[in-house]
Symmetry: C2
Subunit: 228 residues, 2 copies
Amino acid sequence: MNDGAPLNRYQLAELGSLLAEPARAAMLLALTDGTSRPAGELAQAAGITPATASAHLHRLLDGGLLALQVQGRHRYYRLADERVAAMLESLALARAPAPHTMPARGDAQLRRARCCYRHLAGALGVAFCATLLQRDWLQTETRGLFLRPAGIEALVSSGLPLADASQLYGRSCLDWTERRMHLGGPLGVMLTSAMFEAGWLRRLPQGRALQPSADGLRRLGMLGVLVD
Amino acid sequence: MNDGAPLNRYQLAELGSLLAEPARAAMLLALTDGTSRPAGELAQAAGITPATASAHLHRLLDGGLLALQVQGRHRYYRLADERVAAMLESLALARAPAPHTMPARGDAQLRRARCCYRHLAGALGVAFCATLLQRDWLQTETRGLFLRPAGIEALVSSGLPLADASQLYGRSCLDWTERRMHLGGPLGVMLTSAMFEAGWLRRLPQGRALQPSADGLRRLGMLGVLVD
DNA sequence: CAGACACTTCGGGCTGGCCCGAAAGGTCGC
DNA sequence: GCGACCTTTCGGGCCAGCCCGAAGTGTCTG
């Protein structure tokens, strides 16, 4: 009722209180890679008993931060939404130390390429997005960013398997190491998974860092994406 | 120590607990317009006694969310950083209802043009940023987005008083009504204040909504910025 | 059907943190 | 210097919410 502010004090406080408990924070952080995990595993990750974890998970579910998928006697929890992942990233950004010292802290691999929820982030993600913009391959519409036919053609001829690329919308996502925009949303997710399929990227066994292949870097370079 | 994650559970929980109290949330929300306010006024805005407010403000200060400016017997508090404002916006975004119904909720003026911390946001801000990108007036560098000489020239000849525009960096900022990028950072702030000076925009007495003038809309239209 | 397993619900102990009134620091005007 | 004002510090009451163990519900296996 104050003004057109998006959030009132109680909504913000409720959201904050969901994050305010180390156990819940640990669970959320364990899910930032976009995976679904059973309750027991999350309890272990948070260092609490299943009984306590159940209460926390219920609260996060009620608060709209998690989604639940029941499968037999297992209950798999995941982040409710890509917006939740974006929120967690922005919290990290706000809490980051001085901008110029921060990127030097993280390990080099993570700064170069990593997954942000399910799309590509890091220097490579930012450079890729910048190239798409610079070559005018992205069209800005009210509903989001769309890949233009010329862009689809260029990416496909580089060896990227794109299905229905013109229908998916992307959105800008702020990068916490680069402090610049990269491409998220369904379009970003699809492009990233196409890179996995094409062998341009592969996941590392642990963490969110991604490993670009030599071939992938070469093909990206030919598109105009330069890193380092 | 887990992986290269930007935040550990305790840091996230601490940040959450700062937001978790309606009184503190109200103070933060009262400062989202970028103003500085004395402690007493914030106490009143939160509906608590000065004694309680003092403790809350101290905690927010320690947590790095607020900055303090002492002036005589008054103590003016403001958001510490533009990143804090961006964080609060992203929390609103995560909590927003379904994407397609959300923009219809806010009042039309607020959706059209408003201040996000101290730079222009809303449909006008998004369109302005899109035009800058489309005309290739923005240069993407590691440190951020910079105005190219051609862009400076075009804006100045439209009547916008720009000082040292080539030195300021901008950053992308996600819009909570448009769900698209607009221009923030020092560059965004400078461009917005230039629009105030030139009479293209004026502040409304309350809230964050901004009122574009007929002349401002005309000149923006000539640059290629079209809204509605 | 019996037992193992995954998870939730229940009951009760405990602590952290919010709140206020009263009083103490500083700062300004006269 | 004295009073008015803004803000902070102190002391103590009070409640929300975290934690666990034990028991209950539902599911899969043999």
